[in-house]
């Protein structure tokens, strides 16, 4: 895996990426659980998502500490330096992902009290599934160091945008049809926005992976779809 003369150095680097993957697994579970809490109106699950977010924060701090220590003591160069920096950046993205998932969970508690709106929560569920699969793909790419896999995630972000735009319109029609649903619909709109941002974080992570592997920034414009 690594060709360092001092083996513990390589071990430390491996350990670092292992911790990022671990954090990724946690963030993945947070997103999946938050979306499930919305779909099933499960307040207990939502609460556990909120509580577990702290763990993600701690992990992020821990990874950051380890990265700084590694840079200070080992003075990593080239691929090692990129690996360290990418780990730090990906950890930050994952922490933000966790925050967004926590926000979804919090909002789900509010809409669980309102009337069920299954077509809308189904849309959230579908979008959540899509975003989760992005997140999973990008983590798989990170773990296995596959550049093409990461770039596939990067270029497929338009799908999430399309879903967001469609849901936005759907929500508008709902709110115009029945003003009593406005408060719940607004929460759903924010959830959708959060999911969309999680998708953005996945593409950011794909960019970090690109940087880690090739040493170059990915400069191309991301395919964007906007109907507004």
């Amino acid at each position: 895996m690594n060709t360092h003369i001092v083996k513990t150095y390589g071990e430390e680097l491996d350990q670092l990426s292992a911790e990022v993957v671990l954090m990724g697994g946690l963030a993945e579970a947070q997103v999946a659980d938050a979306v499930e809490a919305v779909a099933r109106r499960d307040v207990a699950l939502a609460q556990s998502v909120v509580v577990r977010d702290q763990k993600l924060d701690e992990l992020e701090k821990d990874i950051e500490r380890k990265c700084i220590r590694l840079i200070a003591l080992r003075q990593p160069m080239a691929a090692d330096l990129r690996k360290t920096v990418a780990a730090m950046k990906i950890a930050t993205s994952l922490e933000r992902t966790g925050d967004l998932a926590k926000n979804i969970a919090k909002r789900s508690m509010v809409i669980a009290e309102a009337e069920p709106m299954s077509p809308l929560t189904r849309s959230i569920e579908r979008m959540g599934k899509l975003v989760s699969s992005r997140l999973r793909d990008v983590l798989d790419a990170y773990k296995s160091g596959k550049l093409d896999m990461a770039m596939a995630v990067w270029s497929s972000d338009t799908e999430v945008d399309e879903h967001y735009n469609a849901l936005f319109r759907e929500l508008l029609t709902y709110m115009m049809g029945d003003p009593r649903t406005i408060s719940a619909c607004t929460h759903i709109l924010f959830m959708a926005k959060n999911l969309e941002r999680i998708g953005d974080h996945a593409t950011n992570m794909a960019e970090h992976i690109h940087y880690e592997i090739t040493g170059e920034d990915y400069v191309e414009d991301r395919p964007k779809s906007s109907t507004f």
Binding site: K7, T8, V21, G25, L167
Partner: protein
Amino acid sequence: MDNRILTHASVLWLPHSDYIEAGMANRPKKIRGYFPLSVATGIIILIVLAIIAPNAPWLIWVALTVLGVCAFAMNRDIRKAQQVTAPAPALPEPVRVQPEGPSFQEVLRAIPDPVMVVSGVEPNDIAGRWVVFANTAAREEFHITGENGLLVSSVRNPEVLEAVDEALFGNIRRDTVFETSGAQDKFWRAWTSPLPVAEGARKLALLVVRDETDIRRIERMRADFLANASHELRTPLASLTGFIETLRGHAKDDLKARDKFLNIMAAQAERMGRLIHDLLSLSRIEMNEHVPPSGEADLSLAARDVMDSLSILAQEKGVTLTFTGPAPGAISLVADRDQILQVVQNLSDNALKYAPPGSEIELEILTDRTLEQAIAARDPAAAKLVLLRPDRRDDFYTVIRVKDHGPGIRREYLPRLAERFYRVEGQKSGDKLGTGLGLAIVKHIINRHRGGLVVESIARPSTTDRELLAYDLPDKVAAVSDDLTTYTAFSAYFPQPRRLKA
């Protein structure tokens, strides 16, 4: 270990146990000899020189040379440390099931469920769990390559990792349910159990995983079927009972009304029949979705069969069907023949439903496409959405594209297309026959074949859109409303076993 700064030299002086902790099991014994020896020799030479000629300036040069020799020796030591591996410890004779039978390890390897043995040193370091043994199923399912790897790179579900830790350091047996999502969702149950080890040795835990996708699917299918069937059948059933009441009551002797009612009732009963048929086939397909197909199917042949079966209906509507692609027999896919036929049939049925009289429906088969080519939109102005994307990436795909020149589907409706019972707004009560399950069936079949589905469409902009456009870009709106050829094209793509053209 964590807080110790390790320079090159200090590595050589670490006690053996630290090497073990750092995962360097094979610490070479030889290494201790070279470095101390060269340093000692250097110092002795220096002392001797200092006694013989205390004030000579060349002493500095000698000292430098000696230091250089020391550095060289050290470097050589380190090189050696990498090259020399301790002689492999003699493996104890494996315990065999029978004297001449397989060892228990080989038995474990043959178990169809993934089995792993995980080791750990520190309780709080979840990322530092190593897989020290994985059987064949575990290697395949969780992508473990090489001798042993970190557990997080194969399983990263936090609950499972916690359960492993509890088994390692808390001596707790547990089972955890987890899900790996993707194009095909999989449900797993993981058993974790502590393994006995000698005092002071690395802790070990057993992790056995079982695929429970089948059981979960059956449960979910039953629930879905009941919910869908009861919900969707209620409307036609209500109208049937309504008409029966009327026919029993005041319309009893009204011949004309009776005829009319009976016609409506027949149509409703037909719809219910279609609905049940579609629901059943959807359930059946969903059940097998995670089982890859094994037969062989020819897409061109399927397309030809479907065109034959639709020809009369198309003639009645005044629609022509055209086909471009390789001749039958040119390309065969690893697929379920009937299901492939159903994909083509459902897509063509849809096209026929929305094609205006006098228009053309184009069926097209493209071979040797890469994933990007298969997904790419033909017309950059069209709204495009990937409804299904395969998890795995194959080298080549065969694409079947069905295009109609109907009114098109607006961008905002695309994401929900493959959802069950979803109808694009404004056609719920329309004259189109359909159950709203056709595309859902198509999607599930394609998913089973590890393929994908893309929709591409140009539709007339909605009134609000046009108002917005008129406000922002008055020139564009004129262009839009004048001659816009609306269309909808569905492209289903399937992995192609081999490349057709050289």
